[in-house]
Amino acid sequence: MKKVMTGNEAAAVAAKLARIQVVSAYPITPQTVIVESLSEMIGRNELKARYMPVESEHSAMASVIGASMTGARVFTASSSHGLVYMHEMLHYAAGARVPVVMVNCNRALGPPWNLYCDHTDSLAQRDTGWSQYYCADVQDVLDAILIAYYVAEQAFLPVMISMDAFYLTHTSEIADVPDQEAVDIFLPPFKPSDKLDVNDPKTFGNVCGANLFASIKYGRHRDTLSLEEVWDRASTRFCDHFNRPHPAVEAYKTEDAYVCVVATGSAGGAIRLAVDRLRQEGVRAGGLRLAMVRPFPRRAFEKAIPTARHMIVIDRDVSFGAEGILAQELKAFLFDHHRDVKLTGFVAGVGGNDISTDTVVGLVQQAILGVGTAVEAGTTLWTDVLP
């Protein structure tokens, strides 16, 4: 059924459709609507689940990990400082191989305090072992959460679904809400073989020696790498059921593109419009929206850039003292496969600055012609900087 809803409402609806059993969360703007909606659904008995109003994000993640270890399907959501406060438990979740699904609302980190969109919060968690998927629109939020449970429970690894603060969390769009029966067929109940069970006592997370430690981490690394393939299979299966594709990389007119604009999140729409305008002006441009950032979707990316000579990366984040985090990711990929491709990295749209079609066209022109308003710092060019 088609409904008008915000990204936050879509996240709550998806969690309900996934028949989550334990929700534990701590409020933070702009995530609050998600957990308020879920507590309301549970209060009204529309969803049979436990709601844990914990005293911190660290405890939110700790408690959903514990609940997941008993075989329950769990959910939490956070943002910005809340996500960063969870950092220790993010490592723990992936190490414990629990299929936790979390929604993160991408918001800037202070100081200075700022409630608006920025990707540094979740990209700073890229080494925790979570799969990371960034949504393009409200429908993507709803669908990606359902796919995420399927993927997480296949691989026994946690998945983070991120959406841009306010651009998605608080923006209403039309979304198709699937029937519960159809979702139940797509997403079977979670039945782990290893769990905390007094009839089959096991230790979880016990101390282990050096040899075994390396083997366990190696196995986890391999399994995490395989998540691109697991996501592909799951999203294909989802498309078979619901007729909506959610690939790890969304390519727009890249088949013959010379210049490729790369970004993640809700800027994908502006990039498509910019690509159309640039093509009218005679630039062979294409757009790539990285939906999956961890693991880096090497196979999909390779397929999407057959003729690219120049990558223009727009980071809504920065690794201070280095450069944009996506730019680093892409450079690592290009170094292995396409050392002759040029890369220009921009930092744009941080702290709620808009990435409009004009912004993207301007950045591409600056990358090609060397003239524009973005200012240089090391290997990055920053937009929206006061003179």
Binding site: Q21, V22, S24, K48, A49, R50, M52, P53, V54, E55, S56, H58, S59, A60, A62, S63, V64, I65, G66, A67, S68, M69, T70, G71, A72, V74, E88, M89, Y92, L196, D197, V198, D200, P201, K202, T203, F204, G205, N206, V207, C208, G209, L212
Partner: protein
């Protein structure tokens, strides 16, 4: 109970990696005997997270989750929520943390769980310092005690945090102190705690020969001296309101308790006296709390 019957109930098998004479080892054995096999143990960083053995070995025959330091109570609450939504309301979820993991880094999560009245049993085995990292001061360390971060040149001045008072102030259904030197009292409190729903907290005194500098065969003796001197009196608190003393031998001075332990050896006579004064003051206050309340008549 004959030996076979006792062994049948023994959920703590040989091979723990604790120090000889470890009070916390005795405490776990006594606790699991009372709680039985329908128990899941959650333990944070601390002596016990290494004492259970190196994977794949474990000296405990119940499920164990080794968790992040600050997360114990929240983790345990999550386990309970997961079990409960799947229809299991009988399994005891035991959060088993040291004093550092309870008084210091674990206090926020513990306060949250108690305030929500999550159905877990939280036991703090208290050896009065960060022992697993090699004896450093924490907020459970008594004044004057030597630790690696309160050396003789800079002794600890602050008094031990009143953890049961803090937890009781949450109006917790059941809180109690217990001592590995009084196993019958501990078993009785565990049985009581097991049958109460909501959060239950037991502060379990567990001497540490390595950190306190006493002979390993004196663990139980020192634990008993702590009760007798009222350094660690035994009591229960119901609903955060009704305080009740547990049976204890007649009160003695703290001298015998202090003299067996190297950590108090450099304590000045003045500080020993101050320690006695503080113990007496705490004991008087506890007696006041435990006095039956006189009903107030309103005219």
């Amino acid at each position: 109970m004959n030996e076979n019957a006792r062994l049948e109930r023994e959920l703590f098998t040989p091979g723990h990696l604790g120090c000889p004479g470890c009070g916390a080892a005795l405490g776990m054995r006594q606790t699991l005997s009372a709680l039985g096999e329908d128990t899941i143990v959650v333990m944070p960083a601390g002596c016990w997270s290494t004492m259970i053995g190196i994977y794949p070995y474990s000296c405990l025959t119940v499920p164990v989750a080794s968790v992040a330091f600050a997360s114990t109570a929240a983790f345990a609450s999550g386990i309970k929520a997961g079990l409960s939504i799947q229809g299991n309301d009988h399994t005891t979820v035991l959060a088993w943390a040291g004093d550092g993991g309870t008084f210091d880094i674990g206090l926020q999560a513990l306060s949250g769980a108690v305030e929500r009245n999550d159905d877990i049993l939280f036991i703090c085995y208290d050896n009065e310092a960060y022992m697993n990292t090699g004896v450093q001061r924490c907020s459970a360390t008594p004044p004057g005690a030597w630790t690696g971060t309160t050396p003789d040149s800079a002794p600890k001045d602050q008094r031990k945090k009143d953890i049961v008072g803090i937890i009781a102030a949450h109006r917790i259904p059941y809180a109690a102190t217990a001592n590995i030197g009084a196993p019958e009292d501990l078993a009785c409190k565990l049985k009581k705690a097991k049958d109460i729903r909501g959060t239950r907290f037991i502060h379990l005194f567990a001497p540490c020969p390595t950190g306190w500098g006493h002979a390993s065969e004196l663990t139980v003796e020192i634990a008993r001296l702590a009760i007798q001197s009222r350094v660690f009196p035994l009591f229960e608190v119901f609903g955060g309101q009704t305080w009740q003393l547990s049976p204890m031998a007649d009160k003695t001075s703290v001298d015998a308790y202090l003299k067996y332990q190297r950590r108090f050896q450099k304590m000045s006579a003045e500080n020993c006296l101050r320690f006695q004064v503080q113990v007496d003051e705490d004991w008087r206050q506890l007696l006041n709390k435990c006095r039956p309340q006189v009903p107030v008549t309103q005219n």
